[in-house]
Symmetry: C2
Subunit: 349 residues, 2 copies
């Protein structure tokens, strides 16, 4: 198992990433790591974290880094030598089995889509985020933002890819797949959800549980929630924004007087626990599903623990045969792009 | 001022609605109320709340009620005699100045769109929800779900309508208007936001502040946030779902042991305050902007206080001349449907 790790893309530089790699080195004695980044800068960190000259570590030079403020296309234009682009190139050449980056999501999507390409039969890749359920456990949301414009073909393929990922992540045989919409009834929604609904419903092998409204997504109504990348992204980010605001509000109302402050001190661990519900350090990131390789995209501010988890997930996805299973499932359900387009055209006749 | 109140549409029957009307009767000695509902059932409640035979109360009979589980079209098909449809009919006939309903949002949109019609020059109405900002105050989100399919024409008109509503609600002269997107940069977004961005940018009289990503919407970056009704609805409902889950999580982490429970008891009022941040009882509901009349849609589980607020907002919107101002602003910015369509066609040449 050889994993390329983008060592430069994180918000706080190589430190937390290298620390995560150090953890993974001892977790997985059979894994090899290709650290991608500036060859003049990385040795300092390897030295610092005590893994200089480690037999399972190698460095591949990347001259630049895609900054968060830069457009996604930068990875393919002005910064073809970025750490993200270099990781994608290694993945394409099959020099590594998987890549992990805590870098620019859009740039990673762009670079892998163009360089690594999608799996045969898949039109577009999708980002699979996972969110906590109210009563424990998690669910998968996809597309969380890889595609701003989607077709029913994409939605169905997101459902198939999400199903296989849920089989891995939740160890479920037949994960429940749902469609995000504005009403529980089949007849509600927009043109995209209505057309997608019909296609999903026709796939009898899929455990499709129908439309789900956004206010019940935390109630364990489905294991996979599919939607277009625009809606998925605004919902996910709206939720992130509220979570941050809520922690702020909680702090404010608790510090209003001495009595409340005393109470807050006593219950301190409860708030630490509440905050930790939000972080996904044990998953480490969102896989970009549908490309011809395994790619895990972590948060820019990933902790070392999150990096370690992302590496674990990347390795496990390879071992699980995630992409082979997606391809098999795509064929079994007649969900290759050409098949779906044919079905759509037939329905319109 | 004469206001039609849908007395039957709320989740818990006429009680809370009539209680809200009782409050409004004393708040606004010049307002008259037309209670719309079953004429055999309402007198019981008027008696109960001590307003039977009140000189400023009249009843208009409506045989049926649109249930929340029924499709929106019910108001125009099987239940043309519903309380919502009857309110819309009174508004259309100008027998009332405004209508307030705590009933079925979709049914209200359908009934008013068809019966009351849109304002001249407006293509589609939009639901204007308001959400709390992190550091106090609120912002307006529209469309919160009246339209599942939108065009750039609709988005621009939502911006104009939202601007005027913000002038009323926040007493601002030039509210900041923003466009919900998946990236801060102009070039990001989907086809709809890209086209809408150009049109909004060209309206120099509009204080358009550009794209806003959903994770910063609580940070006071804009007074009005416009988007299509599908994205707006899934974001709003996702946020509502998280808010509910968070209160559940908070309770769970606080009741884990005796120490935390003791702390929670001491700080009890803080949690009550936190919960109250979420309710919008002082606004009472979301106006449906763009129809040729004033219509406020409250929550199905509106408290009497929320009903009172909805009545206040309805009356104030009439006095403010909300619709006259929308029409004037539409003309001043060249944003009538025909003008916008022309501009779009020109841009595509």
């Amino acid at each position: 198992m050889k994993i390329a790790v983008d060592a430069m893309g994180a918000d706080y530089g190589p430190g937390p990433v290298i620390e995560g790699v150090v953890m993974a080195l001892s977790d997985y004695p059979e894994y090899e790591f290709v650290l991608v980044g500036h060859s003049a800068k990385l040795p300092f960190y390897l030295e610092k974290y005590g893994i200089a000259g480690h037999p399972r570590i190698s460095i591949v030079h990347a001259e630049t880094v895609c900054e968060m403020s830069e457009p996604s296309t930068i990875a393919l234009r002005a910064k073809k030598d970025s750490s993200i682009t270099t990781c994608a190139r290694l993945l394409k050449a099959k020099e590594v089995d998987a890549m992990v980056t805590p870098g620019h999501t859009g740039a990673t999507v762009a670079a892998t889509k163009v360089l690594v390409r999608t799996l045969p039969g898949i039109d577009r890749p999708a980002l699979a985020a996972s969110l906590p359920l109210k009563r424990g456990g998690r669910f998968i949301l996809m597309d969380a933002g890889a595609n701003t414009e989607c077709t029913p073909v994409n939605i169905v393929q997101f459902a198939i890819m999400g199903e296989v990922y849920a089989q891995y992540l939740f160890q479920l045989e037949t994960p429940r797949v749902s469609l995000l919409s504005v009403g529980g009834e089949d007849i509600k929604g927009n043109d995209l959800t209505k057309e997608s609904f019909k296609l999903l419903e026709q796939r009898e092998q899929l455990n499709f549980v129908g439309n789900v409204e956004a206010d019940v997504i935390f109630e364990d109504v489905a294991d996979v929630l599919v939607t277009d990348g625009f809606s998925g992204n605004v919902m996910l980010k709206g939720i992130e924004g509220l979570a941050r605001s809520t922690m702020y509000w909680l702090k404010r109302v608790l510090s209003k007087n001495a009595l409340r402050l005393a109470g807050a001190m006593l219950a301190k661990n409860a708030f630490i626990e509440l905050r930790s519900l939000g972080d996904a350090d044990d998953i480490g990131g969102a896989p970009l599903l549908g490309i011809n390789g395994i790619c895990i995209i972590g948060h820019g501010s990933s902790s070392p623990r999150a990096v370690r988890s992302a590496i674990r997930v990347a390795g496990e996805c390879v071992t699980f045969g995630l992409n082979e299973r997606i391809t098999a499932r795509l064929n079994a359900t007649g969900s290759n792009t050409a098949e779906l387009e044919h079905e759509l055209a037939d329905a319109k006749k």
